[in-house]
């Protein structure tokens, strides 16, 4: 039986080893986990070794070799979830289930697991339950949810509220997730007419003209790194290769970011139009949307949009009536790994492998997916392109500031009245946003997520732009009730410890060492030496291979820079060395056993 199913799934993907991610995702969705006994048959079916298959499986958070319960609850453990009451909710889940997080109930009914930010920071605490998103979970709801599970109800029947705003309520999504578009601007506003730009304008332009218009706009990548988009496309167009590929990076794993989720829900046509324009510009025939596993609830909806576009000649043979431009898009799901948002890791993952970033050079524009020239762009970047072609590069450049042109979509969350997404022209200050979001008594803001910077009031007059405070869009607000070191910095550091791909020696080790230093300081054992060590060791992270490693010490380093007094207050001023071990405590048990009181 199962064997048959496996063979069917393998056939569906032409027994192509580069489609291992899809094969595993299918098997897991059929069976709930990937049984050990199937590893060798899968491997044989696609001409890999069993260890090859295992190395991919074991890399991803959501793949599992053991059953994780008929109902699997993945409760978000990002910082905002904690701020909004995760601990109490988690406790209720544990009590009601009679098992701890990381375990499955004895009867195999419910599994409780942690998971990193699921892109719902404006509606925490949130959880993924059998792929469906549950938001704003209270202790009351947690109890109800477990009760419903014990009664065997379907997950879809367990939503207590009406569906979310906008398209979230549409028949193919039906989720309680809310979009909270607090402010839209020139890119995301209502004036968008799907397909117009592609069919009426792009069809009249040469690829070179498209690239020139994008160059003229001075658009820079919105995924965080800020590389000029027009230039990237030009490099890819010029690179030699039989085929070329366009990827949209919708991995959105940076804690506190959720703008891509909102765009994917409200403006998927625009995103696909942007991918198609990119495809035309660089000479690609295939586009791939790399979508994070957490957004699986959008799958049917997005596939339906793609079908509609195919019917309207906005995809498929002779797309937009451009002869020979046969462009199509498929969705590639991830399986839970923040590092897969890094463009070369994203490509590796799409080839069915572990999401380990590649060494560069060569860059993806020369040698990317299946070694063909590849452009990877963020969701927001590709949407901006549609508007640039629609209204012209000059128009776009008139928005924002001279060196940071256009708009930026921010994901605002944390201690404020109006969490949600805000599309603003570049050049606004941190204070502007705090005011807009109704934040009061703000102690600190995390700009750009954990990989960005933690800043305090002294920096609130700084502007968000590429030359001052650059950001991929995550904006998390902390008020004066928050414990910066114990809660914020610790949570972010643990995030990076878990998400390193494990290749580079410093990235695999230093964050853990920094965490231990932080613990030592918080326990009152810290000395001045610990602070200098933190700084020195944190700076060693710059020799890592990818952006994750380069920024993984930022929570510690930027908090040390901007909140140094928090560290200074906790260290011992008169002690030069402290091993960090409380000797009396360490030997207490054995002393008790031999009935002796130690003399220190």
């Amino acid at each position: 039986m199962i064997e048959n199913k496996i063979q069917k799934i393998l056939d569906k993907f032409n027994r192509d080893k580069t489609r291992l991610m899809d094969i595993l995702l299918h098997i897991q969705s059929e069976i709930g986990y990937i049984p050990q006994t199937l590893i060798q048959p899968i491997a044989d079916g696609i001409d890999l070794s069993a260890a090859d298959v295992l190395q991919t499986i074991s890399f991803y958070h959501f793949f599992t070799l053991k059953p994780r319960g008929k109902y699997t609850i993945y409760l978000n453990n990002s910082i905002v979830a904690y701020m909004m009451g995760r601990e109490k909710v988690a406790k209720v889940f544990e009590e009601e289930c009679g098992c701890k997080f990381g375990e499955v109930t004895e009867d195999g009914l419910i599994g409780l697991f942690d998971t990193a930010c699921i892109g719902m920071s404006d509606q925490e605490p949130a959880a993924l339950i059998n792929g469906k998103v549950f938001t704003n979970i209270t202790t009351f709801r947690a109890r109800e949810i477990i009760r419903d599970m014990k009664q065997g109800r379907k997950v879809e029947e367990m939503f207590a509220t009406t569906f979310g705003d906008g398209k979230n309520a549409s028949p193919l999504i039906r989720t309680i997730v809310r979009n909270r578009m607090k402010r839209t601007g020139p890119v995301l506003n209502m004036s968008y007419k799907a397909g117009n730009t592609l069919l009426k304008q792009v069809a009249q332009m040469t690829p070179k003209e498209v690239i020139n218009e994008v160059k003229l706009s001075h658009l820079r990548g919105r995924g965080g790194a800020g590389f000029p988009t027009g230039l990237k496309w030009e490099f890819c167009r010029r690179a030699s290769g039989e085929k070329k590929f366009v990827f949209c990076n919708a991995d959105e794993g940076e804690p506190g970011t959720f703008k891509d989720r909102v765009i994917l829900t409200e403006k998927p046509e625009m995103l696909f139009e942007g991918m198609t324009i990119a495809g035309y510009a660089i000479g690609a025939k295939e586009g791939i949307l790399y979508l994070r596993y957490e957004y699986m609830y959008l799958k049917k909806y997005l596939e339906d949009v793609l079908d509609r576009l195919r019917k309207n000649n906005q995809l498929g043979p002779n797309t937009a009536n451009i002869k020979g431009f046969d462009f199509d898009i498929r969705i590639q799901f991830g399986a839970g790994a923040y590092v897969c948002g890094e463009e070369s890791a994203l490509i590796e993952s799409s080839e069915g492998k572990r999401g380990e970033p590649r060494n560069r050079p060569p860059f993806p524009v020369e040698k990317g997916y299946l070694d063909y020239p590849t452009v990877v762009n963020n969701v927001e970047t590709l949407c901006s392109v549609v508007r640039i072609i629609q209204n012209g590069g000059d128009w776009y450049r008139s928005l924002g500031t001279e060196e940071s042109t256009g708009t930026k979509v921010l994901s605002v969350s944390g201690d404020c009245r109006y969490a949600g997404i805000y599309e603003l022209e570049w050049g606004f200050t941190v204070s502007d946003i705090l005011e807009m979001a109704g934040a009061e008594n703000t102690l600190a803001v995390q700009v750009g997520g954990p990989s960005g910077a933690l800043i305090g009031p002294d920096d609130f007059n700084r502007t968000l732009c590429y030359s001052d405070l650059a950001t991929g869009g995550s904006f998390i607000i902390f008020n004066e009730s928050r414990d910066i070191l114990r809660d914020v910095v610790m949570n972010f550091t643990e995030f990076f410890i878990d998400e390193s791909c494990g290749s580079c020696v410093p990235c695999r080790n230093i964050p853990t060492l920094l965490k231990h230093k932080l613990e030592k300081i918080l326990q009152g054992h810290g000395t001045e030496k610990d602070i200098t060590d933190i700084k020195e060791w944190g700076n060693m992270m710059q020799i890592n291979r990818c952006g994750l490693g380069h920024t993984a010490a930022n929570p510690v380093l930027t908090s040390l820079k901007n909140f140094r007094h928090l560290y200074e207050d906790k260290i011992q001023k008169t002690v030069e060395f402290d091993s960090g071990i409380d000797l009396a405590e360490a030997v207490a048990e054995s002393c008790e056993f031999v009935d002796r009181i130690p003399k220190f």
């Binding site: 890999l48 260890a51 295992l54 572990r354 998400e499 494990g502 020696v505 060693m540 291979r545």
Partner: protein, 233 residues
Amino acid sequence: MNKQIIFTIDQKECTSEAGKYIVDAARENGIYIPTLCNYKGVKPAGSCRVCTVKVNKRHLTACTTPVAEGMEIELNTTELNDLRKAVVEILFTEGNHFCPACEKSGNCELQALAYRFQIMAPRFPYQFNKRDVDASHPKILHDHNRCILCKRCIRAVKNEEGKSVFTFENRAKKVHIKLDEKLGDSLTDELAEKAMEVCPVGSILVKEKGFEIPIGERTYDKVPIGEMLITDK
């Protein structure tokens, strides 16, 4: 033959073919760049970061970056030498290395680099990670305590179909080397020998074969790592 280009390493003018990796180009010019995860003839991994150099204020790995015309490479600066030393120190604290009892002592690249960098005691605390010793295989002994996760075995030890006998499992701090069961069962003596040879440390050893050359007379006992280059020539 590719185009000859000119570049500098610590201001010394060098020439090489365009497109060669910096480590190889440097060696041709008589300059040693310390490496650890790199292994002759296999695709570089760029994972240990020991070979880090600086070009244009940016850190690059010399084992993965090709030389280019006019490149100005910084190699032996105080900063870079300390970073390299730090990497080796971390590795000594991440694994559990008892050199005097190790079959690879004297042939071990990690140990040799520690001598070269004059490491007395690591600046980092020992992690005391619990690792396994796997003696279940008939031909090889796999001591994970000594593994530095350099992936040399993964990249170099392949069966006749080109499949890797070893792979990586898990991620982050949990990564470890795994031997494929089926391919492991049919491991030839030749491949077992090769696995031991490519492993820079004493993590993969061939069973029933030890201390053929006494300690004191081994590779790096005779010539310290990095000095060989000159004798090679």
